[in-house]
């Protein structure tokens, strides 16, 4: 298998990963901080025999992707937070039709127009919501450029294995930062045949299919199927990463780019004799509940760090069920009051010192 090494941004890495996975279609609408993604596909997809379409809105993007995906081919759309709001309707239909889809949300901050800079304020939105109807998507959170590339390929695999929406939840720090990237096609294994695809009846010896998200007759059975499906995903598809867990008395739980910040703080703390470790969910949904609980059992204290007002915090508290005290460092510990502020290792380290004193 050929491996190419380049310096790439996380946003470009999404594109490299998608093309390596056989993606032949991108549709999207300009919005910061994901603009490098449509620019990448506009430039690179035609070379790979694919099609790029600039849409009139994210509502159109998600519905166009739905149209492309229902024919059984691999496509992708990307956006940032306000555009992700507009996509909710289409995401709901994708769930209703049980179609696979890969959607990238490079988060920007806050409600409304908010900030165009990095943030992690869409955790609840991506993890808890898939538009109306109460469905759950698979949500993957990259913390590096390499992981943008790898997780978009995993997103294709999982979304087709389970016929479910997979969200890659990136942010401006990961998306616009540049690092070394290894480009390669990752083989996750066999996937089921797409017998459900719309290809016209002429291609299927007269058999025809009509996809309709209206459920006059199969309403309750649909929910049973979905529950069974997500139970299996929760049992088999949880992914997480840990660092320095062996002797950790203080467990730091964080996700995405903020987990990188935490790692720096943890290494600094360890040089001071604080035995800290990191637990990082890669799948925010399914949430690594059991593994997190097991990791926390060895530690005395738990610190949750995320660049928002406390969103994953509630899932951690639910997972640990009061077995450990949980502290929190979040958006109010940024260095600047403006949207350009960042969460640095310093306030995280200070909180760790306070907790262990």
């Amino acid at each position: 298998m050929s491996v190419e090494r380049i310096i790439s941004t996380g946003n470009d890495a999404i594109g490299h990963g998608a093309i390596a996975a056989g993606c032949k279609f991108f549709c999207g609408y300009p919005i910061t901080p994901q603009n490098e993604i449509p620019a990448f596909f506009a430039r690179e997809l035609p070379k790979a025999g694919g099609i790029f379409v600039q849409t009139e809105s994210e509502i159109s993007s998600v519905n166009m992707l739905l149209g492309w995906n229902c024919t059984g081919q691999r496509g992708i759309t990307s956006t940032s937070s306000p555009g992700f709001s507009l996509m909710q309707e289409g995401i709901s239909v994708l769930h209703a039709l049980q179609l696979p889809a890969v959607i990238v949300n490079v988060q920007r901050g806050g409600p409304g127009s908010g900030s165009i800079s990095t943030a992690q304020t869409d955790y609840n939105f991506a993890v808890k919501s898939a538009g109306h109807g109460g469905m759950k998507s698979i949500v993957l959170a990259p913390w590096s450029v390499q992981e943008c590339h790898d997780l978009v390929q995993l997103a294709y695999y999982l979304s087709e294995k389970y016929r479910i929406v997979a969200i890659v939840l990136s942010d401006a720090t990961v998306g616009q930062g540049a690092e070394l990237l290894e480009i390669k096609t990752i083989d996750f294994g066999e996937l089921p045949n797409k017998t459900w695809a719309l290809r016209t009846s002429g291609e299927k010896k007269g058999l025809r299919l009509i996809m309709d998200s209206y459920m006059p007759f199969n309403y309750t059975p649909y929910f049973s199927v979905i529950k069974k499906k997500f139970d299996k995903i929760e049992a088999e598809e949880v992914r997480f990463e840990t660092r320095y867990l062996e002797d950790a008395e203080l467990l730091v739980i964080s996700w995405g780019s903020t987990a990188r910040t935490c790692l720096e703080a943890i290494e600094e703390a360890r040089s001071e004799g604080i035995k800290a470790g990191l637990f990082r969910p890669i799948t925010l949904s399914p949430f690594p509940k059991e593994a997190m609980r097991a990791a926390a059992e060895k530690a005395k204290q738990v610190l949750v760090v995320e660049d928002n007002q406390g969103q994953m915090l509630y899932d951690v508290e639910w997972a640990l069920a009061g077995s450990r005290p949980v502290s929190f460092v979040g958006i109010d510990k940024r260095d600047l009051p403006s949207g350009m502020g960042l969460l640095y290792p310093k306030p995280i380290l200070e909180e760790m010192r306070r907790m262990m004193s």
Partner: protein, 254 residues
């Protein structure tokens, strides 16, 4: 079977075994029959995917044998059809069939953008000048003076604007190569509309551009008339507002 009976027999693609769900006097059943006949004439059914929207026309594909279909959410059919057409390529026919509450209201951005992007799809637009499925509310196509649950005193221009003329609007786009408005309320008009749908399909086969066929339809409950008065409704109310005819028939612009 006599020659006359043969002439008026249902097209073989029209699924007459399916129980019609339309209200008495509705023209949608005739329009779907017309589409079935067009797909038969053009021998396109095995190569076609029909994307419907939300409204009384959403189950149109179900009535036509061998026709694959997708029911898009309200207004989104042109976007979904774009994705399908771009995937399947020019050898396949991708059509949308949507009502006026769908295409000219919540979906106007999608159809205008599809036209502007020069999508090679065919859009059949059913205009009964109200939101039939949800109870006859005012649509962008509703007539001045039309009484509906959301224009209880009758639509006025200051309150709800003027009826939108989609066929004329669509004809303005360079990417639209065919735009037509017809009805199915008389034999003559049925045949004209049938010919228009056939032309629209042929335009797509030639990869010429977007083809648009607007069809006026009676909705007796929405207009508070008896089913038997549906034909007069089209003649006396709808046609005076919405001029019939071909607004554009052009070759591929590039």
């Amino acid at each position: 079977m006599s020659e006359k009976k043969k002439k008026h027999a249902n097209p073989s693609l029209f699924n007459t075994m399916m129980t019609p769900h339309f209200c008495p006097g509705c023209h949608y059943g005739i329009i779907i029959r017309c589409l079935a006949e067009a797909l038969e004439k053009t021998e396109a059914v095995g190569d076609t995917i029909l994307v419907t929207g939300i409204g009384c026309s959403m189950v149109s594909a179900h009535y036509i044998k061998n026709l694959e279909g997708m029911v898009a959410l309200h207004g989104r059919a042109p976007a979904v059809a774009t994705g399908i057409k771009r995937s399947l390529g020019r050898d396949k026919i991708v059509m949308t069939m949507t009502g006026d509450g769908d295409l000219s209201s919540i979906g106007i951005a999608e159809i205008v953008a599809a036209a502007n992007r020069f999508e090679k799809i065919t859009s059949i637009f059913l205009n009964n000048s109200n939101f039939g499925t949800t109870g006859g509310q005012m649509a962008p196509t509703s007539l001045i003076g039309q009484v509906t649950p959301t224009s209880p005193e009758g639509r006025t221009a200051d309150h709800g604007g003027f009826p939108i003329h989609m066929a004329e609007l669509m004809a303005q786009f360079k990417g639209v190569v065919y735009s037509f408005r017809g009805t199915v309320h008389t034999h003559k008009n049925y045949n004209r509309t049938l010919k228009a749908i056939v032309t629209a399909i042929e335009k797509q086969r030639e990869d010429a551009g977007l083809s648009f066929v607007e069809i006026l339809a009676a909705c007796p409950p929405g207009h508070h008339v008896k089913p038997k008065d549906g034909l007069d409704l089209v003649t006396d109310k709808l046609i005076p507002e919405f001029e019939l005819g071909e607004f554009k028939n052009a070759d591929r612009p590039v």
